[in-house]
Amino acid sequence: MGKMQRRTRLRLLGLGILGLAATVLAGPANAAKDVLVIDLVQEPSSLDPHVQWNPDSYFVYRNIFDNMLTRDNDGKIVPQVAAAWRQVDDSTTEFTLRGDIKFHDGSALTADDVVFSVKRITDAAFKSPQRDQFNKIVDATAVSPTVVRLKTEGPYPVLLAQLTKLSIVPKAYVTQVGNERFNQAPLGSGPYKFISIQRGVKTTLARNDAYWGDKGLFATAEFHAVPDPATRVADLRSGKADLIVTINADIADELKKDGKVKVLSVLSERVAYFHLNSLAGPTKDLKVRRAIAHAIDRQGIIDGLMHGYDKPATIMLAPVHVGYVEGFKGHAYDPAKAKALLKEAGITPQTPFTLFTAPTFDQRVVQAIQQMLIDVGINATITTSDFAGWLKRAQSSPAEFGEMTFSRWSCGCQDADGVLFPLYHSSSQWAKSNDPAMDKELEAARASLDPAVRLAHYRRVHEIAEATVPLVPLYQVAILYGARKELRWTPTPNESFFINRVGWQD
C-alpha cells in the first residue's frame, strides 16, 4: 500500500515537473509558436526579387525585402521604404526615404540603393520579366542620401501602385557578389532574413530582430514546395503545415469538417471573364456577343461550382480597383433573349464556335459555360492546349484567336489601367476589339493624374464595354487558403503575404 502511494506521488511529481517545463518552454500564450510553416505549390523560382513574376516566389521574397511602398490590409497605399512623396511636375515624383532602414548586413539603405534597384529592373539587358511594370520610369536620380526623384514617360497615374511591388536591393552587396550569387544568397532589409534553400523542399527564413517596422511573431518561417493540393491538405490536417495556398471550394468544404483547421478567403482583385472575338468569325456580330452574354448564368456557376465564395461581376474590375464604377447592370441571364438574338443574327447549330482553354483554368467552369452556350443553340467546341500555348493563342491575331476563351485577370496593381488598357485598347495584343472611342477614353485616363478625371473616363469605358461586349465579365475571384485554427491572418485582394502580419492564438 505504502509502495503504491509512493509510486503515485512520484508519478504526480513527474507530471508536475513536465507541466512546469511545458509552461516555461511555452512562455506567453501568443508566443508559443516558434516555426511557421507555409505550404506553397512550388519552390520560389528565384529569390532575387527582380528576376521572376510568380506568386510562389513573391510570397517568400517580399518578406526578405522592403518594397518602395506597400498596401495595408485595407488596400491603401502606405509608406514603406519611402516615407513621403510629392509630385514635382506632371512626370516627376520626389520620394523622401526613411533614414533608419538597415540591410541584414547592417549597412544603411539609401537613395543609391533605390536608384540602383530601379535601373536594374528597367534595364532590358537584365531580362527582368517584371520590366513591363516599371518601364514607364525613364530616369531615377538620388537628390540626397534620403531623397530620390523618379521621372516617368509623361504623366503616369499608376506609378505609386506599381512601386508597391518594387523590392529595394542593396547596391553594394549585389555589385560585389554578382547576380548569380545574390540569387542564391539574397540579402535585403525586410522583416525576415534568408537562411537557406533546400532545392525542391523548403526555403527557411529567420526573423530580423533589428527590423525597423512591425517585427514578426515567429522566430522562423519555412516555405515548403508541395505541388499536389491533396497533399497540402494532408500536411495541414496532420499539423505539418500551418497555412496552405491554392485550394478550391471543394477542398474548402472538406476542411470545414475538421475542427483543427479553417478556411480563409478573400475576394481578390482578380476578375474572371469570357473573352469574345469582336474582329473575326461569328462573334464579330454584336448580336451574337450579346446573346453569349445573356446565355451565361454567373450566379449558377458561383453557387454550383464555387460554393458561393466568388462574387458576380458586371464590369471587368473589382471594387478594390481605382477606376471601379458602381451601378452597372451588365447582361442578365436570359436564355430566351439569347436565343432570339441568335435567330436574328442567323446563327444555326451548324455554325461552329471554338472555345479554347488550358488546364490552368478551372475546367468545370469552362465546361459549364460550354453547356450554357449549347443550351441556347451555340455549337461550341472546346480545344485545349498547355498554358504556354494558351498564352500564345490568347495574344495572337483575331484570325488565329478563335471565337472565345475563359480567363482570369489581375494586374497586381489594383488600378483600371493595368486591366482595361491591355484588354480593351486596340494597340494591345490581348484586345480582340477595335473601337476608336474606347481607345480615346483609355488614353485620356492614362494621361491624367487627377483621380476624378480618370474616373470619369473609366465610367465611359465601362459604358462602351457594356454596349459593345468585347468580353463578358463573370465574377470576382475568391482566393482560398487553409489554415490551422490558431492562425490569425487577413488575406488581401492583391494575393500578397507578409509574415509580420500573421498572428497566433492558442
Partner: protein, 308 residues
C-alpha cells in the same frame, strides 16, 4: 568482349545524340517560355525585348549548334527560370530520386521475388491466391491514388508518418511503397512464370530422383536458371522506377528529378528538361549494358561476342 563493348559504346553515343537532338527540337516546336515568364498585360514590345535577350528570336539551327557546342564542353547551361546553373539544380535533386528508387526497388524485390517464387512452388494453394490478390492490388492501383490513400491513413488518421517532404529516413517509406508497388507486381509475375517454366524441365526430375530435397532444387538450380528473365526486367523496371517517380514525387512533394521534370516542362525551362532527358538516356543505356553483361555471368552459354 572488347569488340562488343566498343560497338555498344558507338551505338550508345548515337542514341544519346539522337535523343538530345529530338528533345531539343520537340520542345521548341511548341514555342518558347517568354510569355510564361511575363506578367499579364506585358506589351508586345516588352515580349520581343525579353525574347531577344533570351536568344529565342534566333534561327533554331543556330540555337541547336550553340547547345551542342555547350554540351561538348560539358556545360548544361543555366536555368531560364531560376537563373542557376543546371548542373547545380540536377546535382541537388538527383540524390533524392536515387534514394526513392532504391527504396522502391527494395520494396519491389524484397516482396515481389519471394512472392513470385512462392506462388510458383505452391501452385494452386490458398497462399498463391492470397499473394495473387496482393500482386493484383499492386498492379492496378494508380500511384496518384494509392499515394494519397497512404498519406491519409498513415499521416492524417494515424499520425505516425510524415505527410510529405523530407524529414529523415521515415519520409521515404510511404513514397517507396507507393512507387514500388507496381514494380513489385511485375517482379512477382515474372518470377512466378520463370520458376514455373523451370519446374517442368527434365533436370528438375533428375535432381529430385537423385534424392535432392525440393528446397535445394529450387534454391540451387531453378532460381539460377530463372534469373535471366528477372535480370531483363530489372533493367527495364529500374528505368521505369525513375519514370514512375514523376507522379509519386509530385504527390509526396519529394524533391527528386521527376517533380523537377514536370515543373520544367510546364515552365518550358528547356535547359533543365534537356539535362534530365540526357541523364535518363544515359541511365537507360547503362542499365541495359549492365543487364547484357550480367546474362553472361549467370548463364555461361550466352557469349557476348556472338551477340554483338
Amino acid at each position: 568482349m572488347g569488340r562488343f563493348l566498343l560497338k555498344r559504346l558507338v551505338q550508345s553515343a548515337i542514341a544519346i545524340l539522337g535523343t538530345v537532338t529530338l528533345i531539343f527540337f520537340i520542345q521548341r516546336l511548341a514555342g518558347d517560355p517568354t510569355l510564361l515568364m511575363l506578367p499579364e498585360g506585358a506589351t508586345r514590345e516588352d515580349i520581343e525585348i525579353l525574347r531577344h535577350q533570351l536568344g529565342f528570336d534566333r534561327p533554331l539551327i543556330v540555337q541547336y549548334l550553340e547547345y551542342i557546342a555547350q554540351l561538348a564542353h560539358f556545360d548544361l547551361g543555366q536555368s531560364l527560370v531560376q537563373r542557376v546553373p543546371v548542373a547545380d539544380i540536377i546535382a541537388a535533386r538527383l540524390p533524392y530520386t536515387l534514394c526513392l528508387a532504391a527504396g522502391a526497388l527494395l520494396v519491389a524485390v524484397g516482396v515481389g521475388l519471394p512472392a513470385g517464387i512462392l506462388m510458383a512452388v505452391r501452385r494452386g494453394s490458398a497462399l498463391e491466391r492470397a499473394l495473387m490478390a496482393l500482386v493484383l492490388v499492386g498492379q492496378s492501383m494508380p500511384t496518384f491514388w494509392s499515394g494519397i490513400l497512404l498519406i491519409m491513413l498513415f499521416a492524417v488518421t494515424l499520425g505516425i508518418m510524415p505527410s510529405s517532404g523530407v524529414d529523415g529516413v521515415r519520409s521515404v517509406v510511404l513514397p517507396a511503397i507507393a512507387l514500388g508497388a507496381l514494380t513489385m507486381a511485375t517482379y512477382a509475375r515474372v518470377a512466378r512464370t520463370a520458376v514455373l517454366e523451370e519446374l517442368e524441365r527434365d533436370y528438375v526430375s533428375t535432381a529430385r530422383a537423385k534424392g535432392l530435397s525440393f528446397r535445394r532444387v529450387v534454391t540451387r538450380h531453378i532460381l539460377r536458371n530463372a534469373a535471366t528473365p528477372i535480370i531483363t526486367i530489372s533493367a527495364l523496371e529500374i528505368a521505369n522506377l525513375l519514370a514512375g517517380a514523376v507522379i509519386v514525387e509530385t504527390v509526396f512533394a519529394w524533391p527528386g528529378l521527376g517533380q523537377l521534370a514536370v515543373q520544367s516542362i510546364a515552365a518550358r525551362d528547356f535547359p533543365i528538361v534537356q539535362a534530365i532527358v540526357l541523364l535518363s538516356a544515359f541511365v537507360s543505356i547503362a542499365l541495359n549494358l549492365v543487364a547484357d553483361l550480367l546474362y553472361s555471368v549467370v548463364d555461361p552459354r550466352i557469349r557476348l561476342e556472338g551477340r554483338a
